[in-house]
Symmetry: C2
């Protein structure tokens, strides 16, 4: 609890000061707002919310994923997800096909319209991310990712690692 003492091991731990941590906390808060701002604007126009964006993103990322899978990644209740999926399916952005092997499962895909919206959203989000990455430079980006990974919950880190595969 409280302040890690100054000049601890000699090797400066000043970056672990309560004040520094507070700055980090506020940085997360303000940055996350920026992070979602652009897609939020686009979604609002179409009558969707952030929940729709998340569903679309991860269906795009893992085509053919099941409802249960998505549930685990998004960390919401199935009722909540179902409401979102229903509207996306009704609006023809997502398709829902019965599983081959296990016919209880529904496999989710984006339709062409869905892919179009996905691209619009992620272009907006990527543009900001790219600008931030570019201005910060590769070393900063590496640090950014290291800290974020360390901040995740254990099980989410696993999800993240899985998703990250094939990337590098």
């Amino acid at each position: 609890m409280g302040q890690p003492n100054q000049s601890q091991t000699g090797q400066s731990l000043l970056f672990l000061t309560d004040e520094q941590l507070r700055v980090g906390i506020e940085a997360m808060f303000f940055a996350y707002r920026g992070f979602t701002a652009d897609p939020d604007r686009i979604l609002a126009e179409k009558g969707y919310g952030r929940a729709h964006h998340r569903a679309i993103h991860f269906i795009h990322r893992s085509p053919g994923t099941t409802v249960n899978n998505l549930l685990a990644i998004l960390g919401v209740t199935k009722q909540s997800l179902n409401r979102v999926l229903r509207t996306l399916i009704e609006d023809g952005l997502v398709s829902n096909t019965v599983g081959q092997k296990d016919r209880r499962e529904r496999h989710l895909h984006l339709t062409e319209a869905g892919e179009t919206l996905e691209r619009t959203l992620s272009d907006a989000q990527r543009a900001r991310m790219r600008a931030a990455f570019r201005s910060a430079g590769p070393e900063a980006v590496a640090g950014f990712r290291t800290v974020l990974e360390a901040m995740m919950d254990e099980d989410m880190r696993r999800n993240y690692a899985t998703l990250k595969e094939g990337t590098e």
Copy 2:
């Protein structure tokens, strides 16, 4: 739009690949969940939500701030903030004093009970942040902050810079 070409200036821009950006986006998503998880648990027990946390945090940060001030920082409508403030005031966590100079303004302070809750919440959040910072190391933390700052909206970066003052 799309993929920045490989080997552009010779000096590797591979970290600006769409794939790398996607990983960054998902890192933000999962990390933010971790970031809010601990306080969320505490808040849920007490019947509060994230909005209460934000209000408490920034009142603690800037004692005597006005409703309007808080509005600008939090980026919500005053009606939304007001509902939250009302419950906090009713519950005796926040005090509300009429301004000396301008009697339209209300100056907000945390009561002793409010400070106690604030400490509980920020201790939880800081513990995670500290663990992440420590395991990532100072250079990574510097990069983390650089990227987050670059990701903020212009006006929020201004808020952030103001708040950051006196820190370094």
